[in-house]
């Protein structure tokens, strides 16, 4: 099935054509997550089959305990997709809400939200995430999402604040106010839609960043995806980062594990980054 590409306003045909590469990668990324657990061998304990090179039965070889690398990668794709979408969704909503409010209201609200953003940005994101996950004994998926959203919303907040600040003085917003529109109505009907473009652009490349952050945390051994033992539920299973961690540990003798899982991370990040660049060209006139 071909993905339906709706052309954003202002996008030219060439933009549409150049979206194909990254979109194909992304579709492959999602398809891998949905389809592969059904066709790839189930993870089982087969100690003798640990770290086998790629073969007909295991296309990307096996990892520790005979876990099929391709199958584990597919389950990792599900986890990555879920985390990336939920975290980006929450971060954009929170950032848009707080940023718009601050930029539009100005004054004390603006000073407070601004100081909060400065403070959160004083920590490198990874440091804040590790510190947050350190506080719970057994981090669950919810903790991971929280740890990623807390530093993640700031960039959208800054964007929304800057836009709302300039939009506030634009004639169409003043006109709406003069016509008696209430503040929530002005924000939702007039300011909000103008914000959507820049936020979408930022979020597109941001998704790749979340995938990378999730994998990095799992690589360091933090978060629910860091355990290699596949647990219960649709989202259980090792993260790409955990697979990469295991692959790095046996890099000397069995490089295929690290190569396969690292390639999945790099390709996904690159796809979203390219999609972000293209979205920028299409939606951002500057």
């Amino acid at each position: 099935m071909r993905p339906r590409v709706t052309r954003p306003r202002g996008a030219t045909r060439s933009t549409r054509a150049s979206l194909r590469g990254p979109l194909a990668l992304l579709v492959a990324f999602v398809a891998l997550g949905i389809a592969l657990p059904f066709v790839a061998p189930e993870p089982g304990f087969a100690l003798r089959e640990s770290f086998e090179p790629p073969s007909a039965a295991h296309w990307l070889g096996t990892a520790d305990n005979g876990v099929d690398v391709l199958g584990a990668r597919a389950r990792g794709a599900r986890l990555a997709a879920f985390v990336a979408l939920v975290v980006t969704g929450l971060a954009v909503s929170l950032g848009a809400a707080l940023g718009t409010w601050a930029g539009y209201a100005g004054g004390r609200v603006d000073a407070f939200v601004g100081a909060l953003m400065d403070l959160l940005q004083a920590f490198p994101a990874l440091v804040l995430q590790v510190a947050l996950l350190a506080l719970v004994e057994r981090p669950t998926l919810a903790h991971l999402v929280l740890a990623l959203v807390l530093p993640g919303w700031v960039i959208y907040g800054r964007l929304a604040r800057a836009e709302a600040r300039t939009l506030r003085t634009r004639p169409f917003v003043e006109a709406a106010r003069a016509l008696g529109a209430s503040t929530p109505r002005v924000l939702f009907r007039h300011v909000g839609p103008s914000l959507a473009g820049p936020l979408v652009v930022q979020a597109t490349s941001g998704i790749g960043g979340v995938v990378l952050a999730e994998a990095t945390l799992a690589f360091l051994g933090l978060g629910p995806g860091s355990s290699l033992a596949a647990g219960e539920g649709a989202l259980a299973g090792p993260s790409w980062g955990a697979l990469l961690d295991q692959g790095t540990a046996v890099l000397l003798r069995f490089p295929h594990v690290a190569l396969a899982s690292g390639a999945a991370i790099a390709a996904t990040v690159l796809a979203f980054q390219l999609a972000g660049d293209i979205a920028r060209d299409a939606l951002d006139p500057r």
């Binding site: 506080l135 990469l244 690292g262």
Partner: protein
């Protein structure tokens, strides 16, 4: 100027205080008792009480904050849970040097790559060279540290054994970690250098220099690059935070002792004072590097100072 300096300094101090406060609150406002996390469920009431007292957890919140602030100001950052004989400050001081070496090596490497390539791309705008440099930068930005590290080890320590393996204390041990950490920064700086040089090349003073009969090379080096340096330095400084958190990953891959590995080790040992201390030191150093950079930028370019 003095008033301006004071304003900047007080803002940085305010942010620093906010950082300390946030770290303090993080540990105390999260549901669950930190004592449970450290000692486990089976600990005796006496052990709990002793630990509670040592952590000042039995005192009222303002008193706890005062004690914590005192620990921060005298540089001890409290006492490590796992090594009660050591202060957190002394454990951090021990590992600060290797981390600083790694960060500086990466920064130096990134600048050494980015400046010439960026100027080259700008001077050959829209040619094949420009496109190749652009592609290189895109690849450098997309490849995650967690993968680049193992790849470099495979290539230069295993397949072509010219550099030491992770964990070996041999000369050249700094090379692969520095390349891993510096690549993304080099890519960012390269893009920045190209853009800044292009902008400078469009300025009247460049045309004037060319009209005076100076060669393209001289104009590029002496005039265009010099005025392009300022934005590049600013971006380089802004990326230092990323560099600091990058050391966490890179030190883990290459099994180096440093602030990053201490941070992660402390996480797994549930040594909260050390986690706290590392997070604080990293965040505070970023705040003050940014302050120093702002002041430097203003000294170099008086226009920026008027604007702020």
């Amino acid at each position: 100027m003095a008033g301006y300096l004071a304003r900047r300094l007080s803002r940085a101090l305010l942010t620093a205080f906010g950082v300390v406060l946030l770290v303090f609150l993080l540990v105390r406002l999260v549901p669950g008792d930190p004592v449970d996390g450290i000692l486990g469920e089976q600990a005796s009431p006496a052990q709990r009480a002793a630990l509670r007292e040592r952590l000042h957890l039995d005192a009222p919140l303002p008193a706890q904050l005062a004690a914590f602030l005192g620990d921060v100001v005298d540089g001890s950052f409290g006492t490590s849970f796992r090594r009660p004989d050591r202060t957190v400050g002394s454990r951090i001081a021990e590992v600060a040097a290797p981390t600083l070496r790694l960060a500086l090596a990466s920064l130096g490497l990134a600048l050494a790559l980015a400046l010439p390539l960026g100027v080259l791309a700008a001077s050959r705008r829209a040619t094949r060279t420009d496109r190749w440099v652009g592609l290189l930068a895109a690849a450098g930005l997309a490849i995650p540290n967690v993968w680049l590290g193992p790849l470099l080890v495979l290539a230069f320590a295993i397949a072509l054994p010219i550099l030491p393996l992770p964990g070996d204390e041999a000369p050249g041990a700094l090379v692969l970690p520095a390349v891993t950490l510096g690549t993304a920064l080099a890519a960012t700086l390269m893009r920045q250098t190209r853009a800044a040089t292009l902008e400078a090349l469009g300025q009247p003073f460049v045309r004037a220099a060319r009209a005076r009969g100076l060669s393209r090379g001289v104009v590029l080096r002496r005039h265009a690059l010099r005025s392009a340096l300022l934005p590049v330095v600013t971006v380089a400084g802004a990326q230092l935070g990323g560099l600091l958190s990058g050391t966490v990953v890179v030190e883990t891959i290459f099994e180096r002792r440093g602030l990053g590995t201490l941070f992660v080790e402390a996480f797994f040992a549930r040594d909260l004072p050390v986690v706290q201390g590392c997070a604080l030191v990293i965040a505070l150093s970023w705040v003050f590097v940014n302050l120093a950079l702002d002041l430097l930028t203003d000294a170099l370019d008086p226009r920026a100072q008027e604007a702020s």
